[in-house]
Symmetry: C2
Subunit: 117 residues, 2 copies
DNA sequence: TAGGGTACTATAAATAATGTAAGTAATGTC
DNA sequence: GACATTACTTACATTATTTATAGTACCCTA
């Protein structure tokens, strides 16, 4: 996460593939280690930072923050801050985020089937 | 690619997530930098190593080999070697590989829509 | 004998992603 | 004043993935 080197071959390759293949573009957006899991949880409704953390015991706060920021940048989730103390921040899927639902469902079905091979 | 440290936290997290979320499991399988692109090309029929290479100008032979091997391990593609000189090797999707087709289609549609936001 | 074609493999290096550990700010409660 | 709560941030370490470059084996053709 954080910094990518825009002059790297890797970056160029990703760009090129994303440009010509929308499915690769999509995969890059939801392709972080935790992104899909986060989106899966949010499909059932908005959640707070701390709730997500509890739902995914393995994730660190840093990673959760990074992934949420990336999802926010990509307009998959919205972030709402309530000016309270202690702070409260809620994350919710955007319309285009919700549209990932059928894809996730298909991936899940396919994954189950694949596991049982 | 190649070696992962099975004692790392990263590995453990991936395992745990894959176990409980079939969609994450699926995403891990098709999640390499080039995997989805390769599968996309193969959906139209079998291709040789060299043909894939030409279709994806940016990929190195090493990467192509690694990704194909991973796909083969995961039963997404079959590898057929013809004992000829010069050698000929054909890659083709397995049945479960072909079942990725609707998913890829959806990803593509979603990706297009997302791009136009 | 030299060079070409095909599908690789080996090794090293660079880049990217993830994890660890500690610290911050604001305020309310004990 | 010490401590708890919440949602982070920062600096650094580790691991994973991708790229770069060169070389291999086989036989055929010129």
């Amino acid at each position: 996460m954080s910094k990518v080197k825009v002059s790297s071959t890797n970056f160029a390759n990703k760009q090129a593939l994303s440009d010509e293949c929308s499915e690769v573009y999509a995969a890059n957006i939801i392709g972080g280690q935790w992104s899909l899991a986060i989106v899966s949880w949010l499909i059932n409704g908005k959640l707070r930072f701390g709730q997500l953390k509890k739902l995914m015991p393995g994730i660190t706060e840093r990673m959760l923050t990074l992934q949420l920021r990336k999802l926010e940048e990509n307009k998959i989730v919205t972030r709402t801050v309530y000016a309270e103390i202690p702070p409260r921040v809620e994350y919710e899927l955007t319309p285009i985020g919700y549209e990932l639902k059928p894809i996730i469902k298909h991936l899940e079905i396919w994954g189950d089937k694949h596991k049982s091979l």
